[in-house]
Assembly symmetry: C2
Homo-oligomer: 722 residues x 2
């Protein structure tokens, strides 16, 4: 069905390694690489760069300029911090602002333009003190006129004097090398320097075809503490708090006509994590930063283009403000987006971005130790097993939406002697190329089910919450996103403004999944009657709702879930103290197969309608319910933990809710197998998601096929040829 | 040490039974009764009433007047109900207000003075509709001008046409007798009638010494539904919602200068349960009703006194407004308070009330079937075992504070052939009399530890939350109260106003135990800086705090627990999304013995201070912590489930916190035993709380005693005699 050449070669980026030139070229051949890249801390040798492969070179633009940073300390990046609260014993209190913070990461910024942004708060009363009530002597803040036994904090600006990724690697691996610093492109001198530096770099590296930016300017927020018992105090992969500086605050005020204060960032000491709905000020600030990042990134891309090279961006680390689904991403003009992937949702995140080339960086990296300390390429490791674990997630998503390239990262010499791993990657690369070719002839068949996932961030945070699966797996939504990433349904991510603007008019199934008050559930957005009314209308007129966890939960209404009347369940956190719940019996035969292992219990769930059907319960708490509302239906899930079986349940639930049968997209009788139907090539792609051989029939638009699948196999089956 | 007569006889109320005159007199002798009472539905015969015993006669004053109620239906008691929410499909909606309610309990009151109190609410917007938007045709409410897909409810007044205790017995036991109605003493005709009825009754019952009122006017709130799957829709043992009527609302408005509305009671459909902090309007209303109840009760007591009889009140059923710790209880002039008891806290509740005679009604009642369907006096039942289960709770409390009398209720003939039960009661009565005599010579020694339990209701709801232990055992506080009821410490119950007024100045240990937003934790009271400041001061200066569950939890502050800085722990419900917790190790040797079975986990508990000591944890969540704050200390308990071992842990915790040793009050080396020291008689009272024989030493102010205790034994030990 396709040339062997296409299966064997292309679309693969290999990390080359100087000193291992022969190995590099051998592995490039084995895996069918067409690109060779360098890795952090390595430099490719001419034997590699001149072997006829396209060359990627990695640049971390804001780092590696320590000499400039020494000369221009004011050009370093900054942030707000808040001191730990202290209780006043008397009327005077002294605060050492950095106490409890890692002083190798932070240095107080008490410059003339920074001090006016400092604040001291009475946290007992929740009010800032007048500036005349406190003073700074260069070491400590002295607060006067305290109310005894009130608690006080100081919010202050500080420089970040150690680039966070370097800091993490350094402290984790006990490196002794120089601490790398980072420059703020908002500083005019730094910005001029960086542009010139990039121009010079391009001139000095003629062999480079693609400048691989790792990544842009501002790291995700990662705040270290002084105490090893809590080395990481705060980490948020999508926070903007590391973009702050007096200059940014001044620019913002000039543009928006109002001033942000320290408290807009400190937010009662909690900061504004991505998992929580932002304040309106924070929303303004994010847009402000996104425009700045896009403008500066565009200037860099133009420099790269002017040098006759392409600019790809690696979406990790210092990516804040360049969200691929943000309003300004396309304007930057990147030639490619590279995303490291553990999961299916990350593939979809990359695949759906508006950029010419989409490339996935597979895991495991070629590092001695993998995720969570796995001994991947160390003694006792099974890198091929780790690779397959991730591949099972990734291939489902690749069947739904194509990407252009895949690749690896790390130190190639670690593959020596790892034949099982090397063969596994060869197979995956071949499967990837087959899938890519199928996509190139036409999209896989879908079920025509339009799913909208509703949360605070909407399209901006399509597919991801913030960070990787394992960083956000306490959130039910990431499990649902992961399941959706491989299902034959159309998925869009919408926010509450989209709901107001009619997004449900072309939606079949609405999903709301989160915890009360978080960004995924929606928090106070559910206090808005127009949102509740529109979702009520949507279901009443025949739409379907899937709610998981604490969907539509908010305070101040007669029910905790604003959609309790639609869901047929509500949550008791004590307000129903004296209200007896509806007794219920769990149905033994649910209308779709129930995967009990995937379910979970949200405490306090109770029925609001005796007609609500309970399909699963744990310890007398409903864990899966079904409720008719008007012409529509609503499912409630107390929890949802991703597994292939959980994804299958979600698929069957969607089929049941929409009254469809799965064969239009290919549907395996054995739930442990998954199918995709590519009509243009009349080809079924079959995945065996389990470690046993299985035999299944597959319904598809042409009829029914039979297949025996080896453990974990990917099968390309043309039923007409069978 | 005391006359056998005192041990054998007195302070015991026996339920006599007509037709079993011989048995009645036999059992009276066996148990040492000095009083014989009738029971509901029974009438004593002259052979009993003339046998030389004091006679109690039971009256339910507002019931048993069906002829009057038929003739004066407007004199029946009332309440507000709220229809279940209905979603509008178009601009008009009809509501059948009583749909879903038990129509044998309720009848709509649409009288001219009732209708103006009706309301229709748009629950989606949270606002009442103007009266011109809806109309009532005698059967249904028609709402016009609806917003499609908004939800609407109607709040309305209705008569309660079936007295709730009678209704419960009726529906549970499938009785077919006439439904008893109940009169509202606020109705002038009813009030005149009831007074005359009582005068006539007293005249017609010269043999009666004590009129035992069961109980006063207004039942606790118990709302039945039409569907057997939720027969009880709402039950609250301390709600005032069954006191409402247009007349009450008019009287209230006249007195307070503002009008209450239906919503003051309906409260978004949730009603205002006792477990939740009341609104200020509800507080006003409660005071208004308490004064009314006291005034009317006083008039009845005066009628009883005028007839040369005494008036005791049974504190259950229709007791609303006559709380024994309420401001007006003493003014009523009752001669005795009778409390049925399952638990120690109920003994203390009775024992501490300001009334001449305190009497306990023991469990099990002489009914065929006991609590929760136990076959107590039916085949397969073990009434002596049930009696001992309750006695173990009760005797601890009786050792701390005396009551004057005990007794039983029910049908005496059920004791025939129950020799083990009859002997058990004889023993308990003897132990009760011994304890009573010890108390009469002087109080038992205490540890001098002043404990204050802080919650919304303060002294008004001393010891109890609302109802019996098994009705409130989902609340951590009732477990703590039960433990405290038998400990040698001084206990007071305070509210937040008491804290402001200096109640902590004579407190050693403050206890706060509840769930966020409930009356026991305190809800929004913790938003008040002066309360937080005062508790902070209290601990900082050397006081001790025990917090359980979600103590001081409220929204809107930098920490969820307003006292997080004192407790050294806080709770994460998602706001700490990106804040790493302090890692901790659980101490293997706690400074006081830990009873793991008594502990529980509150989700999301995390340390706020690395110095917080974790004494127990479950699934990596701290379950018991200890934190130094200033000169004081704070304990946090994730949960606390009463058992004798749990009470022992609480005692040891209190000793540790206050730096005392337990011997001043008598302290058993074996934690399964409990002691009380009566200095006046130089007597130790020892309880074996387990079903095994044990030998323990007992430290007391005179030195150390040794004792071998039989299973569950109560031992009166005079060490000087040993």
């Amino acid at each position: 069905m396709k040339s062997m050449e296409q299966v064997r070669q292309g679309g693969f980026t290999l990390p080359g390694e100087a000193g291992y030139e022969k190995l590099t070229l051998e592995m490039a051949k084995l895996w069918g690489a067409d690109v060779i890249r360098d890795s952090d801390g390595t430099k490719l040798s001419p034997e590699i760069t001149e072997a006829g492969y396209k060359i990627y070179s990695t640049i971390c633009i804001i780092r590696e300029h320590n000499a400039f940073a020494e000369a221009h300390p004011e050009a370093q990046q900054q942030c707000f911090l808040c001191s730990d609260p202290r209780t006043a014993e008397g009327e005077t209190l002294t605060i050492d602002p950095l106490e409890g913070y890692f002083t190798e990461q932070f240095a107080v910024n008490d410059a003339e333009d920074a001090l006016p942004y400092w604040q001291v708060w009475d946290r007992t009363e929740g009010r800032p003190l007048p500036a005349e009530n406190w003073s700074w002597d260069g070491e400590r803040i002295t607060v006067r006129g305290c109310v005894p036994y009130h608690r006080y904090t100081a919010s202050f600006l500080c420089f970040r004097i150690w680039e966070e990724i370097n800091m993490y690697n350094h402290t984790t691996n006990h490196w002794t090398s120089e601490h790398l610093r980072q420059l703020d492109p908002r500083n005019p001198a730094a910005w001029a320097y960086l542009q010139q530096w990039l121009k010079d770099w391009c001139r000095a590296n003629p062999q480079t075809d693609v400048v691989r930016l790792t990544s842009l300017f501002y790291n995700f927020v990662w705040i270290f503490g002084s105490d090893p018992r809590r080395r990481t105090r705060f980490v948020d992969w999508a926070s903007y708090d590391f973009t702050v500086s007096p200059a940014a605050l001044r620019d913002f005020e000039r543009e928006y006509g109002y001033a942000l204060t320290a408290e807009d960032f400190i937010h009662g000491g909690k900061l504004q994590a991505t998992h929580r709905p932002p304040t309106p000020h924070k929303r303004d600030y994010m847009d402000f930063i996104q425009r700045f990042v896009a403008e500066k990134a565009k200037a860099l891309v133009e420099i790269v283009h002017a040098a006759g090279k392409q600019a790809y961006v690696f979406y990790d680390d210092s990516w804040v403000g360049m969200e691929p689904y943000g309003k300004y991403f396309a304007s930057i003009g990147f030639d490619g987006l590279i995303k490291c992937v553990f999961s299916g949702f990350e593939c979809r995140l990359c695949a759906g971005a508006k950029v010419p080339v989409h490339e996935l960086r597979f895991h495991p990296y070629l590092f001695p130790v993998g995720l969570g300390g796995l001994p991947t390429f160390s003694p006792g490791g099974h890198p091929e097993k780790d690779a397959f674990d991730y591949w099972l997630h990734v291939r489902r998503a690749l069947a739904r939406q194509p990407v252009d390239r895949i690749g690896l990262g790390g130190y190639l010499h670690l593959t020596v002697g790892q034949d099982a791993f090397n063969e596994a990657i060869r197979e995956m690369a071949a499967d990837f190329r087959r899938l890519r070719e199928l996509h190139s002839h036409g999209a896989p068949a879908g079920l025509g089910i339009r799913v909208a996932v509703l949360h605070t961030w909407g399209a901006l945070r399509s597919w991801t919450l913030s960070g990787h699966f394992h960083e956000t797996d306490g959130n039910v939504l990431i499990h649902i996103n992961e399941a959706l990433s491989g299902l034959p349904v159309d998925v869009k991510f919408i926010d509450f403004e989209d709901v107001r603007n009619g997004a449900l008019r072309d939606t079949d199934v609405l999903i709301s999944a989160g915890r009360q008050g978080d960004a995924w559930s929606g928090g106070d957005a559910w206090k808005s009657p127009d949102v509740v009314t529109e979702v009520t209308r949507f279901v009443y007129e025949g739409g379907c709702l899937i709610g998981a966890g604490e969907p539509s939960a908010a305070e101040g209404r007669d029910t905790r879930f604003a959609l309790a009347h639609v869901l047929g369940v509500d949550q008791d956190r004590g307000e129903y103290a004296c209200h007896m719940p509806w007794s219920f019996e769990t149905e033994q035969k649910a209308p779709f197969p129930v995967c009990r292992e995937a379910l979970g219990v949200t405490p306090g769930i109770r029925l609001t309608d005796p007609e609500t059907r309970v399909l699963a319960a744990e310890q007398e708490v409903p864990a899966l319910t079904l409720h008719c509302f008007g012409k529509g239906q609503a499912v409630y899930l107390g929890g949802f933990a991703y597994s292939p079986a959980a994804a299958r349940m979600l698929l069957e639930m969607l089929l049941y809710l929409t009254g469809k049968d799965g064969s239009a997209a290919g549907f395996c009788a054995d739930p442990r197998a998954e199918a995709a139907w590519f009509p243009a090539d009349e080809t079924l792609v079959l995945f065996n998601n389990c470690e046993e051989t299985l035999r299944t029939s597959v319904a598809f638009p042409g009829g029914t096929a039979e297949a025996e699948l080896q453990p974990l196999e990917t099968r390309f089956l043309k039923p007409a040829d069978a």
